[in-house]
């Protein structure tokens, strides 16, 4: 029997991933390199924040303790967040932003494809809804990886620097937590290790086409899914949660 607690933690992980990455993207609002890209990035941010709401609502329902989506988003501290570390890294430059978007999104898309058939019907339904949006995010980021990777000397260098920095954080995509292992064994969620090969192949081909090289030697970072975060998450939460912490229960 799968404890609700494990499903709850897993859904929180999906919600946190979308919320934190969505928040990072939202930081571009008003700062995009051109008005067109400014709007585009804000659209992606809104998609992700919208997705996180669906998952928080579902998580609150599973938990059944009367907490709401807002409680889960605004009143948990760093150690309770379950997002991948890659989503919380500072937004960096435009190259870093589109490359992070691609790496995360190509993984998430592949993962959701497998989640569609979960015996937990609701997980499949939510995945189907998110997939439509993520497919565009992927298209958008590949477009820019190509343009920048094959653009000028400077743009290529920025992309390669971003890749060197981001690649070590992709390791975490394929490391299930102990709680996830139980859900995998119960066939409720896909085994992220099984996705690695497909993801790696499609990723390598996109990067190769943009003449970017995956770093050979690097550290592998993990811990986000178990609440061990980089120093950056605290700053995001401080900004994002300020209002609810200072004026509890405040509404629009």
């Amino acid at each position: 029997m799968i404890a609700n607690q494990q499903v709850f933690q897993f859904v929180l992980h999906l919600a946190d991933d979308s919320l934190i990455l969505g928040h990072r993207l939202s930081e571009w609002c008003g700062h995009g390199p051109t008005i067109e890209q400014d709007i585009a990035l804000t659209n992606l941010a809104l998609d992700l924040v919208g997705q996180s709401r669906l998952y928080y609502q579902y998580a609150a329902e599973i938990e059944g303790k009367g907490r709401t989506e807002d409680d889960l988003a605004y009143l948990r501290d760093v150690i309770e967040f379950r997002n991948h570390l890659i989503t919380e890294l500072p937004r960096g430059d435009f190259a870093f932003t589109v490359l992070r978007q691609y790496l995360w999104c190509s993984f998430r898309t592949e993962y959701y494809q497998h989640l569609l058939t979960s015996s937990e019907i609701k997980l499949g339904e939510l995945a189907a809804k998110c997939l439509k949006e993520l497919q565009y995010h992927q298209r958008f980021s590949i477009t820019w990886i190509n343009r920048l990777g094959l653009g000028t000397k400077v743009s290529h260098k920025k992309m390669q620097t971003a890749l060197d920095e981001l690649w070590p954080y992709t390791f975490e995509f394929f490391q299930p937590t102990a709680a996830e292992e139980k859900l995998i064994n119960a066939s409720l969620i896909p085994d992220c290790r099984d996705i690695r090969k497909t993801w790696d192949q499609s990723c390598q081909s996109v990067l190769r086409e943009a003449s970017l090289v995956v770093p050979q030697e690097h550290w592998d970072f993990q811990g986000g899914k178990e609440g061990m975060h980089t120093e950056h998450l605290g700053y995001i939460l401080a900004e994002m949660q300020f209002l609810q912490r200072t004026y509890p229960g405040l509404v629009w």
Partner: protein, 90 residues
């Protein structure tokens, strides 16, 4: 970056309508930009983008020569027919 004109078809059966312009480095990016800038409130189901420089526009100073002559040719309008009541949508 180049300037592009954007045309959107709001639904099947209607034609594409000019909605505005935008900047992009090439056609593909222009299409994605058009999607992000002009269809975010479900305005359309099809997009065309065209390089602004590829559009040949009529010269405003030639307005008289181009458009005045049509003005007194009212017989070109289908206003002299009696339409049966059953005929709709003309």
């Amino acid at each position: 970056m180049e300037l592009f004109e954007v045309f959107i078809r709001s639904r099947n059966g209607l034609h594409h309508k000019h909605v505005g312009s935008l900047h992009a480095p090439d056609l593909e990016v222009a299409l994605e930009n058009a999607r992000d800038v002009y269809t975010r409130r479900s305005e359309g189901i099809s997009i065309w983008v065209v390089r602004s420089k590829d559009i040949l526009a009529s010269n405003p100073s030639e307005q008289e020569a181009l458009f005045e002559p049509a003005r007194d040719k009212i017989y070109r309008h289908p206003t002299f027919y009696n339409l049966p009541d059953d005929v709709k949508n003309i």
